[in-house]
Symmetry: C2
Subunit: 96 residues, 2 copies
Amino acid sequence: MDHDAILKALAHPVRREILNWLREPEKHFTSQEHPLEMGVCAGQFERCGLSQSTVSAHLATLSSADLVTTRRLGQWVFYKRNDETIAAFRASLSDI
Amino acid sequence: MDHDAILKALAHPVRREILNWLREPEKHFTSQEHPLEMGVCAGQFERCGLSQSTVSAHLATLSSADLVTTRRLGQWVFYKRNDETIAAFRASLSDI
DNA sequence: CATGGGAGCGATATAAATATCGGCTGTTGG
DNA sequence: CCAACAGCCGATATTTATATCGCTCCCATG
């Protein structure tokens, strides 16, 4: 668990919003044609209003902090919240 | 039902073999990572030993004769036997 | 014997989503 | 004030399966 990377990743409102959306995909991504069990498709997050390249960078930040898991299927990448890492991080916060 | 196109499509052993394989996908395409309910992925048919471009042409012939149905998902195309057309064709054979 | 069509191949094009790059801006620490 | 850096964008690269192109070969029909 890269504590530093996690804190940096959480230091941006859009990335926090993405993590929040991923708590209840079925509430926020009803328009997705792929089954939500596979995760949420990267393109779905462009609803935050930023460009594709920027969204891709935000997702990469979340992923390298291991706050999300990814699964590639062909041209698509699907994202899920990584509650394991998040729980471990939350636990480690008690040290602060 | 394009009688002529169907006869031309059936006039090649590889295309007939493809149609036969599609009668029981679960017997012949166990290696496919996609669910077989979506159909059989085009690339699977390269097992006939021909090149990708040739296989693609054979599949296009079958498809334009409506002997198979296709479903595209991203970069993949999935094929199913079109038993409806085949039945109609079989019925029309009684005219010969 | 010519020729047109079907079959085959390698090479290249296409398509679609995502990733990366280069440049610009705004902010912050020294 | 300057340097570093995060964020942003448009443009371009990447990836992977499939489609198309240009060419050759072979056979059958005229």
